[in-house]
Amino acid sequence: MPQNPPGAVRMGLLEDLKEKLGDIAAEIREEKPNYYSVRVEASSLVEAARRLVEMGFDHVASVEGVDWIKEKEMEVSWHAESYEPDLKSIIIKLYTRVPRDDPRVPTLIDVWPSAEFPERETWEMLGVVFEGHPDLRHLLLPSDYEGIPPLRKDYRIKVEGFIVDLTRQQKQ
């Protein structure tokens, strides 16, 4: 069995990302050490994902949406990671923002097969339609679920207070 290889970390990844994705990305940032975000328009998602795979980020850890209700936008992001020795500590967030009323993004499961189940979940929980996804049906919720997708911010759930006044109840 191999010993742990030394923790080599790829240096200068931000420059690499800018070189590779600069022409289609709206914004490339280093959010935290080893955590980069790439913002693209919905139309160039597939191309951006393809280039990320070329760089070695061949699967996604997560697909998710954030419902920015005040801005009336839905952020859909794919967190790509890699098992390559020099890239394994790096996470890249590829994201886009689409209107909240009709969130439509192309599916990336042809590029990242690992996105299949998380995309299905994001469709279910946030109502983001992944165009081209072959299997958008309920995953976690009952198959007859109807209504607002539960993770949207306008789906409210009750919260209880922490004070119970028994004196008042008795008077009533």
Partner: protein, 421 residues
Amino acid sequence: MTSQGSRSSETDMGYGPGTIKEPGFRYRPMGRDAEGMELYEIFIGPQHPASGHMRIVVRLDGDIIVNADPDIGYVHRTMEKLSETREYLKSIPLFERATIIDSANITWPYVRAVEQMLGVEAPLRAKYLRTLLAEINRISSHLYGFGLTGIFINHSTMYMWSFGDREIWVQLAEELTGARLTHTYIIPGGVRRDLPQGFKEKALKAIRYMERRLEDYMKIFVYNPVTVARFREVGVLTKNDASRLGIVGPNLRASGVHYDARIAEKYGAYPELDFEIPVMEEGDSLARLLVRIEEIKQSMRIIKQVLDKMPQGPFFADKYMRLIPPALRKHVAETGRIKLPGAFIRLKPPAGEAVARGEMGHGEVFYHIVSTGDTKPYRVRIITPAFRNVVLFRHLTRGARFMDLPVIYGSIDYFPPEGDR
């Protein structure tokens, strides 16, 4: 073959007693394939000894699985939504419930992400204590998986043995944290309890016992020719597929990919410890079992080192310790149990986002937290290892024999509450 969408609505059952119309609804012909063979659809679970809390919809051509569709969500408790209505501290017990058999490992990355946002770092002793509990949890999680694998293929001895031996690690964790499974031990800033007196001797005894028992496990279960016949070359996952499908944990390492979030993220005390990441090349069900056995050994090695190297010092960050009144600070020093400052209810990380990954017994867990500067997170995304491995049900079972399904299920160590969250 009917489309899958219409199928699920057809067979969905109501609540009342009159709803079971067809007595044989679990086993019915689906039509014929191209060569005229009849295809059958079998619903396994959620009430089935080898299904756990999920349903697998299997399509069979004779004895060969054409397609297995995991129907999960039976344990979906809506953690992501609930965490948006709760303060940061309150989400720790919430996420813990996804995998109560491995609760330290699933909450640790969350706490690290919150700490990252708050700009707090746990003291060194706390990091060692976290590592200690995480490894104890990893062992008990693997033993749990072993027990279930055993019972899936009707090897009751393995179930009884590994669940019996798991009690030792559960007991160790209980002495450290005060709870059998749901420890809620790791909190932002450190841990909740100091190492109790005489813990090291107990742990060393448990390790010596376990080392001996693992040899017996090999003889009675892993290298039992019956097991080898059922596990060897069953459910083979190639290296390329494992990487492309984003498989995690021992399932990934059994396919020859050297990846472990403990190494990738360099958290806790792991960078200072000497241990190996077991990797096997075969990628079959037996290799997945063997990797787990090897990981138990490595975890015991880590526990020994952690107990030897355990640094002195505080187990809770100074930043929060200062918020506690002096009388209580004395109480903490005497009892070794933390008193939380009142401000802990309303931890307020600045606006921004953080990601963190951690290695659980089942694989890598991923957290993404979005904060808007409120006391409650705006969005928490959890991707648990089981959710990432669920695709294996479809991928590995295609073309396998129906009888191999429990073996594949057992060997990928899928834990439904964790997958559904």
